[in-house]
Symmetry: C2
Subunit: 154 residues, 2 copies
């Protein structure tokens, strides 16, 4: 698939999307299976993505960096048209929501750090008395399997 000569076409191949977004082809397939992005198919069953997918992926990556799991991102993104680009307005709504998540995590880590500082001298760590030990028992419900540890507020 050498590039279509001069004009930049309106539709992008997976490879092009991968290169432009910095996300691997296999990850793009995966995102599509998860409903995070959508594509048209050519006669030969190859994916063609609208350019709006790049912005959509950008949003996904930012949310991921904020620690939001893909499932939640899909849900948040799911509300708006699957194939079309994310509008500035949508991004505003989403980023505002995720900002709260980030802030909660910052608050938790800050509290942990401060207590850590306070406890460096004492070394108590008693289950009943130490501020480090007691409020930490937050992850506990949630079924089997791994827990993505650093996601407090929810």
């Amino acid at each position: 698939m050498t590039k279509p000569a001069g004009a930049v076409s309106a539709w992008l191949t997976v490879g092009e999307v991968a290169e432009r977004s910095g996300v691997s082809v296999s990850a793009l397939h995966f995102y599509e299976r998860k409903g995070l992005i959508a594509s048209m198919r050519t006669g030969g069953n190859q994916r063609r993505f609208p350019r709006g997918v790049l912005r959509r992926i950008a949003v996904i990556k930012v949310a991921q960096r904020a620690g939001i799991p893909l499932g939640e991102i899909a849900a948040a993104l799911g509300g708006l048209p699957a194939g079309s680009p994310v509008q500035a307005e949508d991004w505003q709504r989403l980023s505002a929501r995720w900002k709260e998540d980030i802030e909660a995590r910052i608050a938790d880590l800050t509290a942990l750090r401060d207590n850590l500082a306070g406890c460096i001298g004492c070394g108590c760590l008693s289950l009943g008395e130490c501020p480090l030990r007691n409020p930490a028992d937050r992850l506990a419900a949630g079924g089997a399997g791994a827990r993505l540890l650093p996601r407090p507020g929810i």
Copy 2:
């Protein structure tokens, strides 16, 4: 195994450790397999833990809350005597080390939050120009499988 009448024995059963530490029995087995904690065995092959294990578990839980993976905790803990309690001095060294990790994560999240705030209005998210998109391409090396996302500095 009803409790040994009056006197609190020097050794704890798994069940007792589980109850006192808030960690499930299966997790304690798991920690032992991973070399995070150690136990003696009775004639009937049942575990007996020294009381120092409680402090050790406390340290593990705090480190986990800080986002340190068990493997790293094991490595850090591995330096000091496996069966014996963690001394205040050891805790000082470990907590100082982990504090840096926490601070790096706080810094990353704070940067993300600030850029998010700046970008709520613009909605650009261009791969080349937006501060949210560019510096985010940090996780990329590391082989197959899931990445525990929110662990930047390393």
